[in-house]
């Protein structure tokens, strides 16, 4: 469990074996906190910020995602036990990109003025939604990909490829490939 006193920015991680009672948890937190920081706050209000669970189990081999435009294969039956939740969560993550319908070539959802550095200046640039990009898609920069949590910029001479697992691999015009 990741815990901290109310108002703090940083957590202290405490390992817990079974569902603990409050006193045991507080004592474990205070012990670890005092070891790190030389003090603790008696009766301080403790917040639980993250619950981490570690599970062990056998997962089916990850298959490659279908290329752009093809439907997703039927789901395999979920394995039993602790791995099941993790497995279906994984499928949920990758599924959103694979399951929605898309054309062979992705369409930008809009074009905007983007500043392309001193050499390129302001230029109308294609903006894509991340979910519209499918395995197998290849797009030449300059372009921008918008995801829910991040934004990718593909430079004027770079090339974006979506690999079989849905990762974005970018071939840089003047350097190594990154993904």
């Amino acid at each position: 469990m990741d815990l901290h006193y109310v108002g703090q920015q940083w957590d202290v991680r405490v390992a817990v074996e079974a569902p603990p009672d409050k006193q045991t948890l507080r004592a474990a937190f205070e012990r670890q906190y005092a070891r790190l920081y030389g003090h603790y706050q008696p009766d301080g209000i403790i917040e639980l910020t993250k619950l981490r669970v570690v599970g062990f189990g056998l997962l089916p081999a990850l298959g490659e995602l279908p290329p752009a435009g093809e439907p997703t294969p039927p789901e395999e039956p979920a394995p039993l036990g602790a791995g099941a939740a993790v497995c279906s969560a994984l499928r949920g993550l990758s599924g959103s990109r694979a399951q929605s319908k898309s054309a062979r070539q992705p369409e930008p959802y809009e074009r905007r003025r983007v500043y392309l550095g001193r050499s390129g200046g302001w230029s109308m640039t294609d903006i894509y939604r991340g979910e519209d990009l499918r395995p197998g898609h290849v797009c030449a920069g300059p372009l921008v990909v918008e995801e829910a949590t991040t934004t990718l910029f593909i430079g004027p001479h770079d090339v974006l490829q979506v690999d079989a697992s849905g990762n974005f691999a970018i071939d840089l015009a003047d350097g190594e490939a990154v993904s």
């Binding site: 108002g7 703090q8 920015q9 920081y37 030389g38 003090h39 706050q41 001193r118």
Partner: protein
């Protein structure tokens, strides 16, 4: 006694590392954003006699005068400091403090029953009572209006916290929920510091350790004298100004004469104006810190920053003047103003001794503070750090675009505005670098920012508008001054108004629109590299017009290229016009 120079360096670096570890404990465990985001605290270590031996963590204006606090402690508790004691203090008149909000926690470190060191943390509390929430009361005319005054007190005796004192402290804060955790975080940092110092002493042996502490002070002393010896002997004058006393418009001077002799440096403030009505008087500890900051940043930056470095420095601060006021003069603003003005005045004087090394003026951080309650009823105090100003240029480097304060030499961090939007009832509308505000020069002053914030709850605003109208940051060595600042407040429940330089105002939800000061430039703008001017125009720091008018650089192709021929013409013309 002679020392192995390697061991000497190891001891200094170990001590520095310990102060940084203490800082990490504070940063990670404190409750107030002023600590966990802005790092408005500093950890330092003194020897058993109260001389600062290490101050690698935090901000120079806190630690330079740290020795005053510990020497006050030793004076008051002479012979009565025991193992397991932790002290607290703040008062600038009675306890060697710098200003009231900065509380010092000092833990005595013993080894074999001998007092060998103090592990210290000086930290700016969220609230300490007084006439305004958030520790800055611009309407104060006596120190009694500024919050609770702490003499040197034993907060922990032989390992146990004095509960009655603890309750007294919490009762005197508007934010006891923060203070309780913050004080413990401070004590955690000094506890960790004490453990590590004790371990160091175990490794080196007590006699050797004490000798090394003395050795690193001596080394810094020798090295500083050698740096000073490179300057021509003579007397150099500097000054800087306020345009108000927090209540009325008036010109108030800080004047300094720096004399370089064979024996060292004398920094004499004789001629500085008398202490003023408002809270911009500088405590003696703060004046020393500011002078030390000016000296150590001007001279050899690799010199160890311990108190030994300043043994050859004599400071004359006349009693009753702005830089050494008599009680009960208020002085909470002093770590910033006149902390920065003292540094600027010293830099101006030192710049006359070696013009190429001049440091241009830094923008004053004149952003306001807002205080109120959140929608769920919790008190909050928010500093508008994002409205900080640009830094001054030096030879070889443009001024910092925006900086946490000259007094902190950028040790104060400008917090993330997105986090602030989570913590406080605000929405940031704009935070971008200004155009044509950084002083032109071969090296340009930092541009400062345009900052707009919407405060969605009723608030009390505390203003500290230094450099709003006059006394823009100096340009040096042929550089131009930076731009002054502007601030406008647009409440939802009344007409927009121009805030006073200093003062408190209550408003409903409002919008603050400010432009912060730009830093001064260094050197002749006509000597600035043409490509750098082009880059500045493309980045929006310099307009096309100013590029031609101030820098003599004429651009072409829609500001994408330099017209070299016309630039040569224009620069020749501007030089001729100067005569």
């Amino acid at each position: 006694m002679t020392f192995d120079p390697v061991a000497l360096a190891v001891v200094q670096n170990r001590l520095n590392h310990i102060t940084q570890q203490m800082g990490a404990v504070m940063l990670r465990t404190a409750r107030s954003p002023i600590f966990s985001h802005a790092h408005d605290f500093s950890c330092f270590i003194t020897d058993g006699k109260g001389s600062v031996v290490s101050q690698a963590d935090g901000i120079p204006i806190h630690t330079g005068g740290g020795g005053f606090a510990i020497r006050a402690l030793l004076k008051q508790f002479a012979g009565r400091v025991a193992d397991g004691d932790v002290f607290i203090l703040s008062d600038p008149y009675a306890a060697g403090g710098n200003h009231l909000p900065d509380w010092v926690i000092a833990q005595a470190v013993f080894y074999s029953e001998q007092l060998i060191a103090f592990a210290c943390n000086r930290a700016h509390q969220s609230d300490i009572g007084g006439g305004a929430a958030g520790t800055y009361n611009p309407e104060a005319t006596e120190i009694f209006h500024e919050g609770i005054r702490l003499p040197v007190m034993r907060l922990v005796a032989a390992g146990s916290i004095q509960d009655d004192l603890w309750r007294l402290l919490l009762l005197n804060s508007r934010t006891p929920h923060l203070l309780d955790g913050d004080l413990r975080a401070m004590m955690g940092s000094t506890e960790i510091g004490s453990e590590k110092i004790a371990r160091l002493v175990t490794e080196f042996g007590i006699e050797q350790s004490v000798a090394y502490f003395e050795g690193i002070l001596d080394y810094a002393d020798r090295r500083f004298r050698r740096a000073v010896a490179e300057l021509p002997r003579g007397k150099y004058l500097g000054e800087s100004w306020f345009d108000n006393d927090c209540f009325d418009a008036m010109d108030i001077a800080i004047r300094v004469a720096i004399t370089i002799t064979d024996d060292g440096v004398t920094v004499d403030f004789t001629g500085t104006d008398a202490q003023i009505k408002g809270f911009k008087n500088s405590s003696i500890a703060n004046t020393y810190s500011a002078v030390y900051t000016a000296l150590s940043s001007f001279f050899d930056p690799a010199n160890p920053r311990n108190e030994g470095a300043f043994r050859s420095v004599r400071i004359i601060a006349p009693q009753g003047s702005l830089v050494n006021p008599l009680p009960p003069a208020p002085l909470t603003m002093c770590t910033v103003f006149p902390g920065c003005e003292i540094i600027e005045a010293c830099w101006e004087a030192l710049g006359k001794a070696d013009p190429a090394r001049s440091c241009a003026g830094w923008g004053a951080n004149s952003f306001p503070i807002s205080a109120g309650t959140t929608a769920d009823g919790k008190a909050f105090v928010m500093y508008h750090w994002a409205g900080s100003s640009g830094g001054g240029a030096v030879r070889g480097r443009d001024g910092f675009p925006q900086q946490g304060g000259l007094n902190s030499l950028c040790g104060l961090v400008i917090p993330n505005i997105e986090t602030f939007e989570q913590l406080y009832p605000v929405r940031i509308g704009k935070h971008e670098l200004r155009c044509d505000a950084g002083g032109a020069g071969e090296y340009r002053g930092g541009p400062g920012v345009e900052y707009e914030v919407e405060i969605t709850r009723p608030v009390q605003l505390s203003f500290r508008g230094e450099g709003m109208r006059r006394f823009a940051p100096r340009g040096v060595h042929g550089g131009e001054p930076g731009a002054t600042a502007t601030l406008n407040c647009r409440p939802s429940d009344g007409p927009a108004f121009q805030p006073p330089a200093y003062g408190l105002r209550h408003t409903g939800p409002c919008r603050l629109v400010m432009a912060s000061q730009g830093g001064g430039g260094w050197g002749d703008p006509l000597d600035r590299k043409e490509e750098d001017v082009l880059a500045d125009v493309r980045d929006g720091f310099v307009s096309e017009d100013a590029a031609s008018r101030l820098y003599g650089v004429v651009l072409a192709e829609g500001c994408r290229a330099i017209d070299h021929a016309k630039t040569k013409q224009q620069r020749d013309l501007l030089r001729r016009q100067r005569g």
